[in-house]
């Protein structure tokens, strides 16, 4: 039946709840560590929360971006599984609020000798004073709040409009054209936030002395490819449940192409950033890579490259592997994990220096975030018909050939 609704299976819900409980228990364990007053534990507590909240906010916001990109280009290929990016996008506000709480706690709660954002109080540091017009508490708070508010609003608006289309008169394209216009507006917002300012503020300012102008592009590539992998996991899950019969190998092939192509794109940006710094060999720039490449983080640094470049290019290159459910699901999980490692390499070395950890706390916090993601998105999907029956582009997606 084409109108069949998705009901959250109890096993799925239980897994989500267990993961969420693990996350909360880890958070409480971390809070206990804070009571001892050890500065090192305090830094670890906040930086792991920052890494995960920003990572999950970015990969969910990528779902709004792909809706807007396909909406503006009037692409029919996405319509068969549109409900998935819509449901992920409609839950961006949860991760946005968590990220805001974490970021503001770090900026406003950790005092003038901030272990993570040194720029909060320059203490006579000439470089940081020079950047203070951009890197200051007010600008940081303003950009963060505006970004999260706009992303949340657009995420919920896109889903609301898609649901309104279901009850609109048949063949009415009024909402459709409004969606095209709003897609353009969102791309503008996204370009000014995700593709420029926000990664500078939230991630790059951890290493406040160092800068790279294409950093935001690189973070965008990272989050977009993981976002597409996340969509693919939900699509294959729904397809296996029998709720998305209209999704065929052609649509899976499309998502596989996105994962393949944007893995290469990520590598291109990662390498462009690395090679120029390596070649110019200026001390203030190479310190960033010194600790990551030759220092204690070298394992994660090279694992990052293997997981996010070598594996996707070798495994996803051939057409049959992009049309095989096992390989795409395996690669989607690899890519999400790989880019989580990428965010780890971006955030940890600055405040933690050589005292890195990868144990219960670093593993438990992302488990909690995955739990929230599973529960929230599945609940949103179950609230409406999984197939957008009244979408003007439905026929186009049914006959779509990849």
């Amino acid at each position: 039946m084409i109108t069949e609704r998705f009901e959250v299976p109890s096993r799925f819900r239980n897994t989500g709840i267990v993961l969420l409980v693990i996350g909360i228990a880890t958070l409480l364990g971390g809070l206990l560590g804070l009571l001892t007053g050890n500065e090192h534990d305090q830094t670890r507590f906040w930086i792991v929360l920052l890494q995960n909240s920003v990572f999950f906010l970015f990969i969910t916001a990528a779902s709004i971006f792909i809706q807007a990109a396909a909406g503006l280009a009037q692409g029919g290929w996405i319509v068969s599984y549109r409900r998935v990016p819509e449901a992920i996008g409609a839950n961006v506000w949860i991760f946005g609020v968590i990220a805001l709480v974490v970021l503001f706690s770090i900026v406003f709660g950790l005092g003038d000798h901030n272990p993570i954002f040194h720029w909060v109080h320059p203490h006579g540091d000439k470089v940081l004073e020079g950047k203070s017009a951009f890197l200051n508490k007010g600008m940081f708070a303003g950009f963060s709040i505006v970004t999260v508010a706009l992303w949340s609003w657009f995420g919920r608006k896109f889903r609301a409009m898609s649901l309104a289309q279901e009850v609109a008169p048949r063949n009415s394209t009024k909402i459709y054209w409004k969606m095209v216009a709003l897609s353009g507006a969102f791309l503008f917002v996204y370009a000014l936030t995700m593709m420029s300012t926000v990664p500078w503020y939230w991630i790059m300012s951890i290493d406040a002395h160092w800068y790279s102008t294409l950093f935001s592009w690189y973070v965008f590539a990272s989050s977009f490819v993981s976002g597409m992998a996340l969509i693919l996991l939900f699509v294959v899950f729904l397809k296996n449940r029998g709720n998305l019969e209209i999704v065929t190998k052609e649509h899976i092939h499309d998502l596989g192409k996105f994962m393949f192509a944007f893995s290469i794109f990520w590598t291109y940006l990662w390498f462009a950033q690395f090679m120029l710094i390596w070649y110019a060999n200026m001390p203030e720039e190479t310190t960033y890579f010194k600790i990551r490449m030759q220092g204690p983080y070298s394992f994660f640094f090279f694992a990052n490259l293997v997981l996010n470049f070598v594996m996707p290019i070798l495994i996803l290159m051939t057409r049959p592997s992009k049309r095989n459910y096992f390989t795409v699901v395996f690669m989607a999980m690899t890519i999400i994990f790989g880019h989580w490692i990428d965010f780890y390499v971006m955030t940890m070395p600055g405040p933690m220096q050589e005292n890195w950890h990868m144990s219960w706390y670093e593993m438990g916090i992302p488990a909690g975030f995955i739990g929230i993601l599973m529960l929230a998105v599945a609940k949103t999907i179950s609230k409406a018909n999984v197939i957008p029956v009244n979408n003007p582009l439905l026929k186009e997606t049914l006959i779509h050939v990849s």
Binding site: M275, Y279, N281, M317, R319
Partner: protein
Amino acid sequence: MAIKKFAVACYDDEAVLFPAVEKVRHSGYKLHDVYTPFPVHGLDVALGHKESDLHVAGFCFGITGTATALSFMSWVFTKDWSINYGGKPFFALPAFIPITFELTVMFAAVGMVLTYCYLNQIMPGVKKHIFHPRQTDDLFVVAIEITDPAAELEIIDFLKTTGATETNVQVAEEGWWYGRWDKEEEYQKQQLA
């Protein structure tokens, strides 16, 4: 190359063309090719074409480019003419990557274009037989190769039943020629006559 005899049928509508192509395929006659004024979606499926192996050729060309670039640069900068550039090691792999990438792309692109031209037997300057002057204008032209001379009339009759607006028999040459084609055609026509 070989001179062959073709039974040619013209259709004026896509909707007539598709069933006709299906019928020709099921009839067992040797379908030479279908010429259309614009790309017709689904015609490759109707013709029974399998996906080409062009991308495998592309991969091979690309790997050749990678190997060429890496091996040449390694040889030059470590064995043949080592120069110290800003204190970098002689085998400076990150500096080689952009050139390796460019050469991979160039080998793959040029190699694939040439392979494509060879597979489709096209090239600037190559003369091809035109079955009908309107085949690039508004007619869909189906050409069947006549392998058995005795079946010529039978094939023409069969093509008429599929809805063809015009049918005829042509002697033409298929394949890859440059320059000598006109002379050759005249000669072969005399031979056949």
